[in-house]
Amino acid sequence: MTELLRVEGVTKAYPGVVANADVSFAIREGEVHALLGENGAGKSTLVKMIYGLVRPDHGRMWLRGQDYAPQEPREARAAGVGMVFQHFSLFEALSVAENVALGMESPPRLGDLAARIRQVSEEYGLPLDPSRMVGDLSAGERQRVEIIRCLLQDPRLLIMDEPTSVLTPQEVEILFQTLRQLAAEGTAILYISHKLEEIRALCDTATILRRGRVVATCIPRDRSAREMAELMVGAVLTPPERHGRPAGEVALEVAGLSVASPIPFGTALKDVGFSVTRSEVLGIAGVAGNGQDELLLALSGELKAPRDAVRIAGRGVGDQGPNARRALGLVAAPEERLGHAAAPDMSLVENALLSGMVRKRLVRRGFIDWGATRAFAQAIVAAFDVRTPGTFVAARALSGGNLQKFVVGRELSQEPSVIVINQPTWGVDASAAAAIRQAILDCAAAGAAVVVISQDLDELLEIADRFSALNEGRMSPPRPTQGLTIEEIGLMMGGAHGMEVAHHAHA
């Protein structure tokens, strides 16, 4: 196979960070090439340079032997490079066809385009209705829009940025078939991920990045996941330890919880019910957008429900706000760190006050005890190893992992009886993720009931005693984690969401 893209000595620095340092690698035609690395290893910056969104400081690229230096995505697309984004570049209030048209250089009339979308989507087993509003589609369907948008332009190179984070295991399998079919037709695929098993299943070659540098190139099938993980992280990781076993009385009880979503194009919760006992960890899986955010809001008190739909230690609190629930021992950590769990422009001290005021008694007769608040913030920083110049800095100045440690630490240091946490380690590097998981397990061992909502199946299997999944706002009955197979989990998450296997006849 001939070489398609060659990247040589590419460097890109931002003030304070070197995102990529002297990166070199090559992709052949029809090859599935993995770009592997932790969060912050420089994968995204690298592909943005290939797609023309960012220009390198140094280094060169060649596409099919020609000098390749795209000034903007338009040029990249014209040269045959397509990209499917991790956070979708879609417009919710526009139709599928309009979304596709926006990603094309010279789209045909909308009517003709709709026909082509139907044709290509059938060909690759990705059924899609061109007239539907994107805001009404599931995460998996949205990804199909992105993929089809790329395919309509006959790309030579397709870049996929963490595509499986929004899919059920069954959907992942179908996506892989589509990608293998594309590769067989000669399209090269640059596949970005940090999930090792996926890469071993799909990719021909892998380039591993750590802190902006290429640390290894290997053939994934010949390496064990553990070997690659250690190359990626640069250290040997120890899985978290479990102490206690669930035994206590019921701490949190949810029954018949049905609420409309306050988020535009959100998912309503439909008759959700479960209970968690002290010292127990309940894991709730699900593809993004199936009601996870709404469930957190309904449990934290930001979204109100009938009184008895949510009960803490037997007391109905469904109609109570967050502070009333905190007073009863429930703490929550939302997924979105900046803007929801923390105010970006406020200092860590002020952010400590944000959710700590009730349980840590930081406010007396309406007046704030800044001394005690400062001490609380310093205690969090010390206990959870938050790397920061001090507690006076704004939350947005912290790195993702450090801020997550602060936010989770703030909740866990309030001696809670119930902990609700959404995506505890999203976008966090491996060592910080391990620390956060350990802290959650320690709280459970100390007697707290824990609800972990996560899209990371490995994480849930590691820490949850019982397992459940959200699918279109409905929750499956929780089952003990031990003994669950990946197929069973996939079905709980909604199976293949109506996808079908590609049935394209090879030419």
Partner: protein, 360 residues
């Protein structure tokens, strides 16, 4: 090539330096504007900014300074709380008018009784009038999610019509020979809001403004409510997470700003203005928006900004009589000040870097 880079934390230095720089730039641009109007820029600037404080007739102007600054500060302090919370009450002018009408009406209903209780009663009525007028957009926003910017602003025009109808109808002075306008409240001992210290311009409205500055300062620095107001403005979702009810906050902020604007109107009608008149509304409610921003939505800053803005009013009058500068030029001047301030705000949150054109 100039590049903007977001600062990790907002710069404290620039937060305070930008208003000063904005004033300097406005003086330069204003001088240019005056030059275009055929006036000597240096003389115009001196007439507006220097003479009222240190010129021959400073003894008169200095008194006027507090008279103008009082209502501006009182209204701006209230507005700043809402602005910080992302609640845009821009109809303070209407609330100011309604405060004056309610205050005056409460007093005139008891005319010509002689009691020390009448003035306090009028103060309460004035605050109530402004509060009531602000509650309309507040309740519409919380109940029907109607945009409070548009409603509060449209209500200014309604308030102006009510003012005219009051001056010509219900509140017209029965002994006024048919001329529009109410009885003179400043000449009736029970309702008068007199100058408290001769020559200073200090009246009860100025006292109220100082009290509002101090109260707002304590609220924002030490009270949980002030923290919630700041939080709601910076990160609305985080505010909900902290247990803040957005609807309650709207009612509260609109209510405070309406009440303070009503108070300002009431003190004005019983003091410097003296009576309900068709042309009673003088634009304080709008200028107070500039004062609030110029003072960085900070009570102490608003105090300084209010004094500065009062100076441009007083100096503008001075320039109008001495140089024949049109009165409207002061308004344009104030608008320009706000532009410069908003433009320079960039420096608090971003760092400007000079980079060479990126290599391909």
């Amino acid at each position: 090539m100039l590049m903007l880079e977001k600062r990790p934390s907002p710069s404290r230095f620039w937060n305070w330096a930008t208003p000063v720089l904005a004033v300097v730039l406005t003086m330069l641009a204003g001088g240019l504007m005056f030059a275009l109007l055929g006036k000597s820029p240096t003389e115009a600037i001196r007439t507006i900014f220097w003479d009222p404080l240190f010129g021959e007739f400073a003894w008169y102007f200095r008194g006027q300074l507090l008279v103008k600054a009082g209502p501006l500060i009182l209204i701006a302090v209230g507005l700043s709380l809402g602005f910080r919370a992302g609640i845009w009450n821009i109809g303070a002018e209407g609330q100011y008018i309604m405060g004056a009408i309610f205050g005056a009406a409460a007093g005139l209903a008891l005319y010509p009784a002689d009691s020390r209780l009448i003035f306090p009663l009028m103060v309460v009525a004035g605050a109530f009038g402004g509060w009531l007028w602000a509650m309309i957009p507040a309740i519409l926003r919380t109940r029907f999610r109607t945009n409070e910017i548009l409603v509060s602003l449209l209500l200014v025009y309604v308030a102006q019509s009510i003012l005219a109808s009051m001056a010509l109808g219900a509140l017209r002075n029965p002994d006024g020979g048919g001329f529009p306008g109410s009885r003179n409240l400043s000449q009736w001992a029970s309702s008068a809001n007199p100058e408290l210290i001769a020559g200073t311009g200090m009246h009860w409205g100025v006292v109220a403004a100082m009290a509002a500055v101090i109260a707002a300062h304590v609220l924002l620095q030490r009270h949980i409510l002030g923290f919630h107001i700041r939080l709601a403005g910076q990160a609305p979702r985080a505010a909900r997470f902290a247990g803040v009810s957005p609807g309650r906050l709207v009612l509260l902020c609109m209510g405070i700003s309406g009440g303070l604007a009503g108070l300002a109107g009431m003190f004005e009608v019983t003091g410097p203005a003296g009576q309900i008149q068709i042309d009673f509304a003088s634009g304080y409610g709008f200028t107070a928006i500039i004062v609030a921003f110029l003072g960085r939505l900070n009570p102490v800053g608003i105090l300084l900004a209010g004094l500065l803005m009062a100076l441009t009013y007083v100096g503008g009058d001075n320039a109008a009589t001495n140089l024949g500068l049109p009165a409207a030029s002061i308004q344009a001047f104030q608008g320009m000040l706000l532009f410069f301030l908003l433009a320079l705000d960039l420096l608090s949150n971003y760092r400007i870097r000079l980079t060479r054109k990126e290599a391909a």
